[in-house]
Symmetry: C2
Subunit: 344 residues, 2 copies
DNA sequence: CTGAAAGCGCTTACAG
DNA sequence: CTGAAAGCGCTTACAG
């Protein structure tokens, strides 16, 4: 028997309806509570009939658990993140957690976004944002909320992280190019303070040298965007040496880069220059691009994140650590050529 | 003087610290409360010093306002939505509202996502999702939360909506093509239950007829995705009549369509066929695509949404209505040809 | 296994 | 303008 129009049903309503005490009714919603199974079933049945659900706010006041995970995003122009954000949200919801979102338009706004979310005392924060030098970790820790950095490391290497092994990924790209006879490499760098960018570059450059090449040239595109990649492509003509193989910091940069190289200075990919991306976003497979790229092991990364989230939210102790998941495979498509026949 | 490690500061702590009553302290946070201005300043100053902020959950228990807006998304593969979602989130945050996110992987999951959000008794729901035949509006209304449909209409035409005038947009596209001498039009339709799709189609087809052409052919691509557009492009060869001008349901469909037409059946855009998109997403301007498109008046739409959100959240009465904002301009790029010279 | 009572952190009539 | 008290909707020792 629903009551006044606007207001939700409360435990009291349900208790009165059932002729039980509020304590008993409340217990029915907790699997571990001491309550007769038959009582629980009666309560649950009636609750769903009349549409009663415990008010999560009142509940959190007692339990000190909010079931809320705060999610901070900023790197919006990269299609990788919307997908992660949205799929992670679905997965977390299936675990009974709800996502509160804060978006920072600029990498420097991350700390602000974090503070906003912290007001709601989330059980956990997940940071999908770029900026290595934010103070997100300290702030969350001070507020008692553990943080997971997804696809990023925190500035100090502390906190929880889920990341693919970007150094290894960079190495794989270098090996692939060297194996196919490339001799002069280039790394197109994106946001300089992103750990992904730094690690991919390091793996790529070190491995090139280890394989006997000159240290790769590095072009600082500055951002993880199509536009930055395009500018980098245009700028290739001003490089001291013309590269024959390049790794871009991620797919969206690579797609812009290829366009810049082809339209701006008339070089052909992969005939004149091979290009590899990183992420394997949906767009990389489009006929328009057919980008060869290092895949991210997205499923594994998300599963690991959700598992970690579940544990942390229920206060299961974990040493802070970074989960390094092996990089996904190098997906061969149409932007890398075999140059071995051209060399001796 | 902060207290025990884990726990947040409370009004009591601040009151004790200041030698005031909790009532007085509490009042300092409400602009309309009866409190001496000097007292308020003292409280606010000390609060920010020791880092006290009222617990929003406890607060909402009394005020029945949560400052939460629930946002439902589903149309994720369309880059239009991540951008809207994220920018809307920023704008709402500036108004003191917080966004709780639920994502439905499938259009049919929208109602489920809505229920989940409703648990948190949001002051307002915003639906960014596709499906015209969900019961989102009824459910939200039953739960006492007003709904704004962004870029969509509800199935029954009720509820609040912010939408560009898609019929007008479709007409503009038809006029542009007819003006440039196109004679045989095609509409590439996406999700059949999306109001945007239906309205754009209607405006386009009706106006073509009004201008003396045959009714445009319609190809049902089924989804707002690149892949659906690509398939549609491939399918052009099976059409009874070869179109010389086409409007796609949105940009991402258009980009896929063009690729399909060019790669699959060797026609050139715009030489053999002109194509217009809808939305003017960032990608449309990329050198890879240079898509001619009907822009959405995004800024106006978001501003209108935020204004409406503010009013509704603070219970300012409004008649339910759809805000129809005039469509943005037709942005001419490189996918429409002038065919007037070929006709007499 | 069940119920009466206390209390989570707040706000808001009600007196003064 | 200020404070003491009641109460928002819940959970959880504490008795029984």
């Amino acid at each position: 028997m629903p009551r006044a129009k606007g207001s939700r049903l409360t435990v009291k309503d349900l208790a009165r309806d059932l002729g039980m005490s509020v304590s008993t009714v409340s217990r029915a919603f907790y699997p571990d509570a001491a309550i007769a199974e038959v009582t629980r079933q009666t309560v649950l049945k009636r609750a769903s009939e009349i549409g009663y659900r415990p008010n999560p706010f009142a509940k959190s006041l007692i339990t000190k658990k909010t079931q809320i995970v705060g999610m901070v995003v900023s790197d919006l122009t990269n299609p990788f993140y919307p997908e992660v954000m949205t799929r992670l949200t679905s997965l977390l919801q299936k675990q009974g957690m709800n996502v509160m979102l804060a978006s920072a338009e600029h990498p420097d706004g991350i700390d602000e976004a974090v503070d906003l979310l912290l007001m709601y005392q989330p059980d956990l924060m997940i940071v999908l944002a770029t900026n290595l030098k934010s103070h997100a970790r300290e702030r969350c820790e001070a507020a008692g909320a553990p943080v997971i950095f997804f696809n990023r490391l925190s500035a100090d290497g502390l906190g929880f992280g889920v990341s693919c092994d970007n150094i290894k990924g960079g190495m794989n790209a270098a090996n692939h190019l060297v194996d196919l006879g490339h001799r002069e490499l280039l790394y197109v760098s994106a946001f300089p303070d992103a750990s992904t960018n730094i690690e991919r570059r390091q793996g790529f450059c070190d491995q090139a040298v280890a394989r006997g090449l000159n240290p790769p040239q590095v072009y600082e595109a500055g951002w993880f965007t199509y536009e930055a990649g395009y500018e980098a492509g245009l700028a290739v003509k001003d490089l001291p040496r013309r590269p024959d193989g390049v790794l871009c910091a991620n797919d969206i940069v690579a797609i812009g880069f290829i366009e810049g190289v082809q339209e701006g200075i008339g070089l052909k990919v992969p005939k004149d220059m091979s290009v590899i991306g990183y992420d394997d976003i949906a767009m990389a497979a489009w006929p328009s691009h057919r980008l060869t790229t290092i895949a991210q092991p997205l499923e594994e990364m998300m599963d690991a994140t959700v598992r970690l989230a579940r544990d942390l939210a229920s206060s299961i102790g974990h040493e802070q650590h970074i989960l390094h998941i092996p990089p996904g495979p190098l997906v061969e498509r149409s932007t890398v050529a075999d140059r071995r026949k051209h060399h001796d």
